[in-house]
Subunit: 455 residues, 2 copies
C-alpha cells in the first residue's frame, strides 16, 4: 500500500476531447489507396456507397487534432478513461529494475479496445442518416464491439461471422445477440455471394474474405445501410488514439515517461492507438523505443515487403500501400485470431518505413508462456493477442535486469482472455505448436501480389 | 460529457484500511453456531482443523473495525478501488427522475466480488503456516476466485467442482487452471466419500453437498491444509465490506447519499459487502430502504423460516441460525447458480430479523428481462445473479417516475455475465421458465429441519 500507483486512474474531466491524427506529422503525405480496377488514386465518391461521407472525409483528413463529438464522448465515458496499471507483481517476479505499465483496454463492455472506434463509427453513420450497419467478424471481437455500439445509437446491425468461429466460439456471438445485433454464419443464404459459396462448398467453414464480400454486398443492396471496418483504415486508427492520449496524461500525473512502448499488431489499430501520440513526441525529439509486435505465424512487418495490396482476400477493396504477405495468405490457425491478417494498416506501415517503429515477433508458445506468467502474477488473464505485447515487455524487463537499467515499459493491454480460455488450456496441456513460417511458405504467398502496382 | 460523474473513481490512497464488522452494532449478540453432534455452542477449537485459528478468531470477533493487513491491501489494489458508475442510459431509457448508481465488482480478475474475501483468506491461511487450501465450487465463481488468490500468495489450491458444471461450464474451470489451481470434477476418486459416491452412482452429476464433503475430507487429511468457504460466514461478509466502504466515499465525493440500496443474495456476501456499512448509518438514524433480492426459485428470506439449520446438504457443518428452506432443499436449475443456496448468512438473517433489511424476490424471467435492458443501455452484460438487483432498481426507478420523486438508487453490480451468456441465449429464444416455488414444495422441503433445535 505504501508503494502506491498500482493503478493510475484519470478523471472524466481529463478525458481527451480530440483525437490525434498522425497524418499531420508524417514527413511526407501517405500514399493514396488505388482503385482496384483503374489503378488510379481513390476519390471520396468511390467510397460513398460503402462508408458514410463524414467518415470518408475523416479517412482523408490531415488535420492534426479532430474534435471528438460530445455524443461519442458520452458513450466512451461508459468505460473510459481506462486505468493505467503498474504490473508490480510481474516486476517482482522478474526481479527487474524496470517498471512495467499497462493500459487496460479490457475494461470495455466488449472486453477489448474495439469499441473505441465502433462507437465513433456508429455515431457518424447515424449522423449521416444511416439506419443499419453491416460488417464481418472472425472470432467476434469486432462483431461484438459494433453490435454494442449500434445498440447504443439505435442502429440495426448485421454481422457476418466466419462459420467455423460461429460454431466453435459461441460466446462472442451470444454477446452480439444479447445486445440485439443479428449475427449469421458466413457463408450465409442471405447474399448472392453467400449462396454461391454454399452451393459450391456446402460444408465450407467460411473465411474472413467471404464474410467481407457478404457484408459489402448486403451494404450495397440498401441506401440506408453502410459497411463498417474494425481496423486498418486511417479513421479507425484515429479513433483509437484516445488510448495513448489518456496514457500520456496518466504517465505525466505520476511524473513518469515511457522508455519503451509496445502493442500487438494484426491490422494495427490498438498498437496505433497507444503509440501514435507518443510517436508525435518522438518526431519532436523524444527518445523512445516503439515496438509493433506480431506473431511469427503472420510476420507481416518483420518478413513481408512494403507493397500495394488488396485489403481483403477476395481482391475487392482498394489497393492499400502497406506491408503484406499477399492477400492470398492464409495464416496458420493460431489462437490470436485478431493477429491473423495478411496486411497492415497503411499508417502503421508508414511509421515503420520511416524508422519510427520497429517490428518484433514471437511465436505462439512464447506468447502463451508470457500470458500465463502474467495471469499468475498480475491476476488478469490477457487475450491471446495481448500476450505478444506482454512477451516483449518481459523480454525487455529481463534485459533491463541484466543491464541493471531502470526502464519504463508501457504496453497496450488490448483485451482480456476470458472468452479465449480454451487456448490457455491447450497450451497448458502441451498441445500447441509454434507455427513459425518458413521462407518457402512466405515466397509462395507473395506470388499473389507479383503483378500489382508498386508503391 | 457536460453531465459528468458517469463513473466515479476513488484514488488508491482513499482505499479503506479497515473492514467494518457489523457484529459491533447489532442490538443483541448474534446467536452462536451449534455443534452438529452435541448441540452446544461451537468453540473455537471445534473449528481448528477446518479453518486457521486467525480466521476463526475473526469469525467470532465483535470489534467494530478490523485492520486490513498491508499484504491484503496490496493484492486488493490489483483491481480496487472499483468504480462506482451512474447508469445514465438506463435512467434515460426508463425516463425516471431517479439516479441509479452501481458499484462495479465485475472489474476483478475473476469477474466478481468473490476475490475480496479470497485474497484475505489466502493471506490468513499463509500467515498461519498453511500450505494448501481445499474448497468446493458450483458454477465456478468461488473456485476461480480462490484459485487466483492462492496463486497470488503462493499456496496450493484444490477445487472440487460439481461434475455437471465441470462438464457443462468449462470456462471457469479453465480460469482456475490458467491460475495454476487443481480442479477436479466431484464426485472424484480422490476422497473416500467421492469414491463411495462414484460406486453408488457411477453417472452421478454431483452436488454442492458432495463437493463440500470431499473438500472437507481432503482438508482433514493433512495438517498443512485448510478449507475455505466463499460466503455465509461472518468473516467472509466482513471482507466484503470494502465494497460499501468505498461506495460511501464515492457517493460522498459527489455530494450524494443513497435512498435505496439493493444487492442479490445467495449466501449473502455481496449484499452484505455493499449494505453493511450503510446499515450502520441506518442504525445511527439515516433513512434508507435496504433490499436483499433473491430468486423466487430459492426464496430463503421471503418464504423460509428463521431456524437453526446445517450450512451444507450433507448435514456435517455446525448448525447456523438463519433463514432456511431446509438443508435438503434442491433449488430449480436457474442460471443464477450463485443464488441457489438453501440458507442465508446468519448476519444477513439477523439484519432481516431486526427489520433493517427487507427481502424481495424476482423470478428468472423478470431477472433476465432486467439484465437485457441493462446490457442494451449501459453496455456491460451482468451476471445472472446481478440481474436480480437490477430488476429491483428498475422497478424502484419506475416507481420514482410514477411518483415524480428524485431518488438515489445504489446497487451492488456483483459480477459480469461474460461466462454466462448461454443463459441469455436461452432467455432471448424464449426457452426459460420462471421456476417460482409452490407452497407445497416449500412445505415439503422444510420437513428436513423439523427436528432441529429452534433459535
Amino acid at each position: 500500500m505504501s508503494k502506491g500507483n498500482t493503478k493510475i486512474t484519470l478523471a472524466e474531466k481529463d478525458m481527451p476531447r480530440q483525437w490525434y491524427n498522425i497524418q499531420a506529422d508524417l514527413s511526407a503525405p501517405l500514399r493514396p489507396p488505388l482503385h482496384p480496377v483503374t489503378g488510379q488514386p481513390v476519390k471520396p465518391d468511390d467510397l460513398a456507397s460503402i462508408f458514410p461521407m463524414n467518415l470518408v472525409e475523416q479517412e482523408m483528413s490531415t488535420e492534426r487534432w479532430i474534435d471528438i463529438p460530445e455524443e461519442v464522448l458520452d458513450k466512451l465515458l461508459l468505460w473510459r478513461p481506462t486505468p493505467l496499471h503498474r504490473a508490480r507483481y510481474l516486476e517482482k517476479h522478474l526481479q527487474t529494475p524496470a517498471k512495467i505499465y499497462y493500459k487496460n483496454e479490457g475494461v470495455s463492455p466488449a472486453g477489448s479496445h474495439k469499441p473505441n472506434t465502433a462507437v465513433a463509427q456508429a455515431y457518424y453513420n447515424k449522423e449521416f442518416g444511416i439506419k443499419r450497419i453491416t460488417t464481418e467478424t472472425g472470432a467476434g471481437q469486432w462483431g461484438s464491439a459494433i453490435g454494442l455500439s449500434c445498440r447504443l445509437f439505435g442502429l440495426e446491425c448485421k454481422v457476418y461471422m466466419v462459420r467455423v468461429s460461429y460454431d466453435q466460439k459461441p460466446y462472442r456471438r451470444l454477446m452480439m445477440q444479447a445486445w440485439g445485433a443479428q449475427c449469421v454464419p458466413s457463408p450465409s443464404p442471405d447474399t448472392n455471394f453467400g449462396r454461391k459459396m454454399l452451393e459450391k462448398y456446402p460444408d465450407g467453414s467460411g473465411s474472413l474474405g467471404i464474410a467481407i464480400s457478404e457484408a459489402v454486398e448486403d451494404c450495397l443492396s440498401s441506401e440506408e445501410t453502410r459497411y463498417s471496418l474494425g481496423s486498418v483504415l486511417n479513421h479507425v486508427l484515429l479513433h483509437q488514439t484516445v488510448i495513448g492520449l489518456e496514457a500520456q496524461k496518466q504517465m505525466a500525473s505520476i511524473g513518469e515517461y515511457p522508455d519503451i512502448i509496445a502493442g500487438c499488431v494484426g491490422g494495427g489499430s490498438n498498437f496505433a492507438g497507444l503509440s501514435f501520440p507518443f510517436i508525435r513526441d518522438k518526431i519532436n525529439g523524444r527518445d523512445i523505443e516503439i515496438y509493433a509486435v506480431e506473431p511469427t505465424a503472420c510476420p507481416t512487418l518483420t518478413r513481408g515487403p512494403y507493397v500495394y495490396d488488396f485489403g481483403d482476400t477476395a481482391s475487392t477493396t482498394p489497393l492499400l500501400p502497406m506491408f503484406s504477405l499477399g492477400h492470398g495468405f492464409i495464416p496458420a490457425p493460431i489462437h490470436a485470431g485478431g493477429l491473423r491478417y495478411h496486411g497492415m494498416a497503411p499508417l502503421v506501415s508508414q511509421v515503420v518505413i520511416d524508422g519510427l517503429v520497429k517490428p518484433r515477433s514471437y511465436n505462439q508458445l512464447q506468447a502463451y508462456e508470457a500470458g500465463v506468467t502474467w495471469a499468475r502474477t498480475e491476476g488478469y488473464i490477457p487475450a491471446p493477442e495481448t500476450n505478444h505485447a506482454i512477451a516483449l515487455a518481459i523480454e525487455e524487463a529481463e534485459k533491463a535486469r541484466e543491464e541493471g537499467k531502470e526502464k519504463n515499459i508501457l504496453i497496450s493491454w488490448s483485451g482480456h482472455g476470458l472468452l479465449d480460455l480454451p487456448g490457455y488450456d491447450a497450451f497448458l496441456q502441451g498441445k500447441l505448436t509454434d507455427y513459425a513460417m518458413s521462407d518457402e511458405e512466405i515466397a509462395l504467398s507473395l506470388k499473389s501480389i507479383e503483378d500489382l502496382p508498386k508503391p
